[in-house]
Amino acid sequence: MALPPEAAGGAAQSSSIGGSAAHKRERRDSVVIRFAGDSGDGMQLAGMQFTAESALAGNDIATLPDFPAEIRAPAGTIAGVSGFQVNFSSGEVFTAGDEPTVLVAMNPAALKANLDDVPPNGVIIVDKEAFSDANLKRAGYTSNPLTDHSLDKYQVFTVDITKLTTTALHDTGLNNRAVFRCRNLFVLGMLSWLYQRPIESTVNWLEGRFKKTPEVLNANLKALRAGYAYGETTEMFASSYEVPPARIVPGTYRNITGNTATALGFVAAAVKAGRPLFLGSYPITPASDVLHDLAALKNFPVYTFQAEDEIAGVSSAIGAAFGGAIAITTTSGPGMNLKAEAIGLAVKTELPIVITDIQRAGPSTGMPTKPEQADLLMALYGRHGESPLPVIAAATPADCFECAYEAVRIAVKYMTPVILMTDGQLANGAEPWLLPETSRLPEIKVDFRTDPEGFLPYIRDEETLSRPWAIPGTPGLEHRIGGLSGEDRTGNVSYSPANNELMVRTRARKIAGIVREIPPTEIFGDTNGGELVVLGWGSTYGSIREAVKQLRGKGKSVSHIHLRYLNPLPQDLGDQLRKFRKVMVAEMNMGQLIKVVRADYLIDAIGCNKIQGRPFKVSELTNRITRALED
């Protein structure tokens, strides 16, 4: 998503640029492919490798996997369908795309589960053999869609994927089951040809992955190449397509998911702070990958503690922070509820930790693999007593790195717990990430108190109001902290009414003062004000930005403000919002940020809400905004 400003907003166009002897080659500016199949069909892998190939081809990209909630749903059923969508483009990409230009359906269930999203005339590629009577029945089809004309409005390519893979692999000595599992590589090869992707990166990746099993490696490579050759030599596809490279900011890139970016942001912060990183966490979807990623980085040093429950996850982190570590805990909504009491203790004892809430659709267990933004009010207010803390939300997968880093920086500087919010869409979605110069990352200064002279646990820095970080092991600073109301400066247990109010107000002032760290609000669009501004936060960034761009392209006075800091809010936010005749708050919840906007600024904003466990489609937003403009 790192494009030079002048490249942004390039209008999509398509032109034929001639072709080879056998095939035409056409140009496309943007293509969305969805790979869908049974959980065991390897569609995630095919999608991720196609993404890697596209990144190397110089496109801007965004991806969104769609996992079934059940780990092993019965094969061939709708519940077991796993999908991976990639949007790759010669222009700037903000989302994984509303609808797939190409749907690859490895079985009838995958077709049925995804067909509604395919636009008329969209391309559908299916594996012919997979449409057996048994599979059709499992998917709930009463007649074969490949022959009953129900797909007439699409371009359907029926390919003998299973048969062709089996033929290509007949001499590998692998059993039928193992051969069957190479179908995804055949598909990847075929699509790589269709979109003129270089397959070297996939070859390298396979060589690394199957180093120890040469026969499996050989089979996978054969399937990949057979798929590529199939596209090239048959007449199945009339033309192949070229998506030229995007104009991207120079630098070194890698493709990154939000969860990996979050993990790396924390490691980077700990390295910069010169302290070990400690993660206390309990496995929960969709947060567990952060635990997995960090568990592999022990040499940094990173401690990962898989705790007995969510409460122990956050409590152990607070214990580690007391001892001077950069301490974090990661979870999703249900875990946030359980951690609330301990977070309150961190607020009261003023210890730096970062709590990451990788939101998922609720309430209760809800839809664990689907994204939502309904934890905002809980993050802001979901603790007993007056317990304000900073809240930061990431906008894109790569932005998770900066936000995780920033969360640690603020926690340490202000001696406070910080909540970092991402969601299932960011966690598993991926995009190219311009690697930062690590030497240029902002300073994270850890300043342990060592001087006993004049030391009290709750004396405060004049500017930040933060208290000293005085860790056990420091002679002369022995002190006790705890959850009971504490006296100003000494922290000694005190039930004095006036002191209690003073302390509550002081902590609130400390958090409010963090506003000095927050850059002025950026308006995308009419910087001096206009008809309507869409206010958003978190993962809706991409959809909103794309929608606003499209409408501006049509001459509409529509702008976008994206919030990274949810508490405190930027100082100038109210003034900026008031420059617009209408304020629309778009969020994947019933309207939470809108309540804050109304309460803080007395602005009668319009809500735009979706609670389906799915990101906003750009078209949904443009429709909603257009209606609001007409009202």
Partner: protein, 332 residues
């Protein structure tokens, strides 16, 4: 290795606020007295507690201290000990804090064998919340929350600890100062999770709960002091012992053909024996002392070893190399 410090150095400036006559005073005094004996500098010592009368303990120790939230002290202590193995970390908890709301953390901390000294003050009642029955109260306990008597079966802290594979398990009493001192020494010398159940009198809400074990005239008839390698003998005249009758322990009178050699000899390393002793109920005497002590790797040391091994193998973490891991490409 005693230090130059004295008991007074471990007394904080905070006024102690337990009820007059509470057994907690005696425990605090003995812990403060033993601290200099351990030779650990004050700044390297941390007391962590949850919620309850016992959990006020850290405020009174002139060391580092953290009064946390209900039941979670072992989790806070684990995070601290793992990242700061140089510290001497104590957990102070009670029967409600450690076995009810915090039961989960206690058992997991014991099975992991985190190198913590865990003092569980068992007064069989909720004191701070003013007198409800606790998970160690006997069946039929009449309290404000159980006017018709409690109906749930109590936990036995010793067998809970043994069942959690604690590597050191002992029981002592608030008023047995010499024995308490001995147990504190043993627990502190142990590497790994040391679990000390301290029977403690709450004179306000459950006075006399341990009278049989503390009243001078009768206590010897009810207390069985465990000593490693010694036969299980008790009684004022040391004339009673524990003998196995098949698979069942029984009390026998010494003499009349029954000699010490017929008695069970205590072996701290025998887990089956520890379980048997832990389950002693009247008419069998109540054992105090070390039920079980074994040596196994501690969680904190094992985790730090993994970090050290990773560093030895991969070198110290290189942030730039980490960020560039995987497929990277350069745009010019």
């Amino acid at each position: 290795m005693a230090s130059a410090l004295s008991r007074k150095d471990f007394v904080s400036d905070q006024e102690v606020r337990w009820c007059p006559g509470c057994g907690d005073y005696a425990i605090l005094a003995q812990v403060q007295k033993q601290m200099p004996e351990f030779g650990v500098p004050r700044e390297k010592t941390v007391f962590i507690s949850g919620i309850g009368c016992s959990s006020r303990f850290p405020y009174y120790m002139n060391t580092y201290g953290f009064h946390t939230i209900h039941g979670r002290a072992p989790a806070f202590a684990t995070g601290l000990k793992v990242t700061r193995p140089d510290l001497d970390v104590w957990v102070v908890t009670g029967d409600g804090d450690g076995l009810s709301i915090g039961g989960n953390h206690l058992i997991h901390c014991l099975r992991r064998n985190v190198d913590l000294k865990i003092l569980l003050f068992n007064n069989k009642i909720y004191g701070l919340t003013k007198g409800q029955y606790s998970p160690t109260s006997e069946v039929g306990k009449v309290t404000k929350s159980t006017p018709a008597g409690s109906v749930d079966f109590p936990f036995n802290p010793i067998t809970v600890a043994l069942g959690s594979h604690a590597s050191f398990v002992c029981r002592t009493l608030d008023v047995e100062q010499k024995h308490l001192a001995e147990m504190l020494k043993r627990a502190h010398a142990h590497r790994g999770a040391s679990f000390i159940e301290i029977l403690q009198n709450c004179n306000i809400f459950n006075d006399g709960a341990f009278n049989e074990l503390t009243d001078k005239p009768i206590k010897a008839e009810h207390q069985l002091v465990l000593e490693h390698g010694k036969p299980l003998i008790f009684g004022k005249n040391r004339d009673k012992g524990i003998r196995m009758n098949g698979m069942r322990p029984e009390v026998v009178q010494l003499g009349n053909g029954v000699s010490e050699s017929d008695l069970v000899v205590h072996d701290e390393t025998n887990l089956a024996l520890a379980f048997m002793l832990g389950n002693f109920e009247p008419p069998l005497p109540t054992p105090i002392g070390v039920f079980y002590a074994t040596s196994r790797p501690t969680f904190d040391a094992a985790m730090n070893q993994q970090l050290a091994d990773a560093k030895a193998k991969q070198g110290p973490g290189d942030l730039d190399a980490l960020l560039k891991r995987g497929d990277v490409w350069t745009v010019k």
